[in-house]
């Protein structure tokens, strides 16, 4: 069962990754990166149960925090750094 969830998460990660790599606009990339970040949170949570030691969920919390801060930083830069959006 955890294996099924893990496969789902990995496939989603791959698809988000492809979108992040291919663009085409900057915002697509940011959206995909943000989504990728949430999927890593799920990945860590499921991995803990899959490997039989689910004590390390603190890690997933850090991922949520950092992912959010990263996205906000990128957006701030887009707004004030005069990024070419294409």
């Amino acid at each position: 069962m955890f294996i099924a969830a893990m496969i789902g998460v990995l496939i989603t990660m791959l698809m988000a990754l492809v979108r992040a790599l291919s663009g085409p606009t900057v915002f697509d990339r940011i959206l995909a990166v943000n989504m990728f970040g949430t999927k890593t949170v799920l990945f860590i949570a499921v991995l803990g149960f899959l490997s039989g030691r689910p004590e390390f969920l603190d890690l997933a919390l850090v991922y949520v925090l950092i992912n959010f801060i990263g996205t906000i930083a990128i957006l701030k830069f887009v707004r004030f750094g005069k990024v070419e959006t294409a």
């Binding site: 490997s51 030691r53 004590e55 390390f56």
Partner: protein, 118 residues
């Protein structure tokens, strides 16, 4: 599975190392060089952590019912190396900012051209 591909992790580490290395020597942009350098750095981290893994082991934190642990020593080395790595990268980035302010460019060839023709 693990026997046939027992060296896979090392190969990926080497591949990443070479990608970083290529970026450092081939790219003319100083920021790109630093990105290459940080890829190189993380590949070394990956190599160390891979070596520390023990089959059927678990994270080196005591708990009920766990008696095989991965080697904590590489973890300690890499843990501090990551933080030191970002600190040194920041120094590099600060230098890049100053170079931009002084020369108006961070492309290597343009910098060399400026140096040659005063």
């Amino acid at each position: 599975m693990s026997d046939a591909l027992g060296l896979y992790n090392y190969w990926i580490a080497i591949f990443l190392m070479m990608v970083g290395f290529y970026n450092v020597i081939a790219s003319g942009n100083l920021v790109k060089k630093l990105i290459g350098l940080s890829i190189f750095q993380t590949s070394v981290f990956l190599l160390y952590i891979t070596m520390g893994k023990v089959k059927d082991g678990t994270a080196p934190i005591l708990g009920d019912g766990y008696d095989t642990f991965s080697n904590p020593l590489p973890h300690v080395l890499i843990l501090t190396a990551i933080v030191v790595g970002i600190a040194t990268t920041a120094v590099g980035l600060a230098l890049v900012v100053r170079i931009q302010e002084h020369f108006g460019t961070i492309e290597e060839d343009e910098l060399i051209a400026q140096e040659d023709s005063p």
